[in-house]
């Protein structure tokens, strides 16, 4: 049975915790991978260490989920477009401790808008302390203002349960009716009981 490969993109500013988040889920060592790449990673493999973070989740059914960390520096934003091609969705990590997290969110939502409109986005707020309460509130408001379903949660990028919850929320956001019966039986996920 041939395996199917999926792609989830982690984005966010430098230091938001993308590498750690991918590391917390990946079944391989992030970046220094020797996995048998079979998509575009193969042709760019020699450059993965400098151009992106890369991890893989191997699923029980043989499928693989490739986890890509988009470079945070804006001068590499052209990588974002490449990485988001055919991606399942976007996990966006925003640091609560930066001067203007709403501006950061706005910028990334704009940059990844085509992907978000095609699929979904979940925002994880990292580096939280007491001020994070207001940050989450503000980020939710900004997403509501932009008409994007506001999926915003605190997350410790080092915590597998936190990152897994973000990814799980993303998956349900991509297809909220996964496994559901009834009027949406024709949806892409129909029949995949959870």
């Amino acid at each position: 049975m041939s395996s199917i490969q999926y792609k989830i993109v982690f984005a966010g500013p430098v230091g938001a915790g993308k590498t750690r988040a991918i590391r917390s889920l990946s079944d391989i060592d992030v970046v220094s991978t020797e996995a048998d790449a079979s998509d575009e990673v193969r042709e760019i493999k020699r450059t993965t260490t400098v151009a992106m973070d890369y991890g893989v989740m191997r699923l029980g059914n043989g499928d693989q989920v490739r986890l890509y960390g988009a470079p945070g520096q804006k001068r590499f934003d052209f990588m974002w477009e490449i990485l988001t091609e055919n991606a399942l969705g976007l996990v966006l990590l925003i640091k609560a401790s930066v001067a203007d997290p709403v501006a950061e969110l706005r910028e990334y939502l704009q940059a990844f808008r085509p992907l978000i409109e095609r699929t979904a986005v979940v925002v994880g707020i990292t580096h939280t302390d007491e001020c994070h309460v207001l940050v989450r509130h503000l980020l939710v408001k900004e997403m509501q203002r932009q008409g994007i379903p506001a999926c915003v949660m605190d997350a410790d990028a080092r915590s597998r349960p936190d990152v897994a919850m973000l990814v799980k929320t993303l998956l349900f956001s991509i297809d909220p009716f996964a496994g559901a019966a009834g009027p949406v039986a024709g949806n892409v996920m129909a029949g995949s009981a959870i």
């Binding site: 808008r113 095609r118 309460v133």
Partner: protein, 399 residues
């Protein structure tokens, strides 16, 4: 004909990224990296992309310009420049007539780079048409990218707006727990009134005013609904006791604060501020315990945002799924039960209760005929298709 592009003087990271970008953007091109060293004669190429700082020419001077033109040997080049470095603006007077040079300031966007490369791709015709004129032009700098062009000059196309405004509607976010939602919640779950602490807090939140709920002489809960935070100095055990003990809860008193007072009181208590919606969700959970409250009516729920599930222990997968649905489209209790017949209807009712009590849900009572008309609509189908077993395997992996 295949176009050869040489990257000169770029950092390893930028070189790698550009190699990928060019490989994917210009299929009809070959990209080579040239390790620069002084005195190097560049291998032939149709276009050089040169980091001016990387080849030691960050600042313009007569000698720097001469060195650059010597290095290029009459070939076209896209020069990558430091941000805000204007020393090369208006320079390049000595380039040959058919030679095209353009300068792109860092950090550049993919649109800018793509636009620049496209212009070079059509450069032969453009340069022939323009001729050897050496007029220098400075193009006003848009956000993040400033462009300086030499003659025969082109300016790199301005950034195209990436965002599609389809979803961007300026709407004010709904406040936490609207009063009509609270009324609907109480109609739907009359037993909620028996939980005095929760009932009192929900009343407070529905006013949208900062308030203090005094539990004892020394223990308070401060809520600021408009800013979405709560602060309290009660131990979890005390809150649990108040949540479940009517007699304890009868001692409580409430006072309204202004924003400054609320912050001051929270500061004086020395208690951290926490997300109000998560606090209310957990308190509601603690108040009603494991029981499934009987539901009196049907109602429609719309979530203003996803609950903070990373901070709510033991969240059922179904809750995640229901939240993902209701954050997009309003759904009635009956329609959700119809869509998820394999799940306990009480669990779905519990979700509606907790989501509304958290303040994130807007709840509205509906009649039977309204409920029939509100069966869930399919969500926009993703262009990314997944196999049938993917979700199951993914969730097994994640949990």
């Amino acid at each position: 004909m295949k176009m050869t592009i040489s990257l000169v003087g770029l950092s390893v990271r930028e070189d790698a990224a550009l190699t990928i970008f060019i490989g994917m953007s210009l299929k009809n091109s070959t990209c080579k990296t040239v390790a620069f060293r002084p005195g190097l004669a560049l291998p032939p190429a149709d276009l050089y992309i040169i980091d001016l700082a990387g080849v030691g020419l960050a600042q313009w001077s007569v000698k720097a310009e001469a060195d650059l033109l010597t290095l290029l040997g009459g070939s076209h080049a896209l020069l990558l420049n430091f941000p805000n470095n204007i020393s090369w603006v208006g320079k390049g007077h000595h380039c040959s007539g058919r030679q095209m040079l353009a300068c792109l300031s860092k950090p550049y966007s993919s649109e800018k780079m793509r636009g620049a490369l496209a212009r070079f791709g059509a450069g032969g015709a453009a340069s022939a048409a323009v001729g050897p004129s050496l007029v220098c032009v400075a193009v006003p700098a848009p956000a993040f990218v400033s462009t300086v062009a030499f003659a025969p000059v082109f300016s790199v196309a301005p950034t195209l707006p990436v965002a599609v405004a389809r979803l961007a509607t300026a709407v004010a976010p709904p406040p936490l727990l609207l009063r009509h939602s609270l009324q609907a919640l109480r109609t739907l779950f009359p037993e909620l009134e028996q939980h005095l602490l929760l009932a009192r807090l929900l009343d407070m939140v529905a006013t949208q005013q900062p308030q203090e709920l005094r539990l004892t002489l020394h223990h308070s809960i401060i809520v600021h609904p408009a800013q979405g935070w709560v602060s309290h100095n009660a131990a979890p055990g005390m809150l649990e006791r108040f949540a479940q003990d009517r007699s304890a809860a009868t001692m409580m008193s409430v006072r309204t604060l202004d924003c400054g007072q609320a912050q001051l009181r929270a500061g004086l208590m020395g208690a951290p501020r926490a997300s109000l919606d998560t606090f209310l969700w957990l308190l509601a959970e603690s108040s009603i315990g494991p029981q499934m409250p009987p539901v009196q009516r049907d109602a429609e729920l719309k979530l203003s945002s996803m609950p903070g599930f990373t901070r709510i222990p033991g969240v059922d997968n179904l809750f995640l799924q229901l939240a993902a649905i209701c954050v997009r489209l309003p759904q009635t209790l009956s329609s959700l039960r119809a869509v998820f017949p394999q799940h306990d209807p009480g669990l779905i009712a519990r979700f509606v209760l907790l989501a509304t009590a958290s303040g994130l849900g807007e709840l509205r009572l509906v009649t039977a005929s309204q409920a029939l008309n509100s069966l869930p609509s399919p969500v926009p189908q993703s262009s990314t298709r997944v196999s049938g077993g993917f979700f199951r395997a993914m969730f097994q992996k994640l949990f």
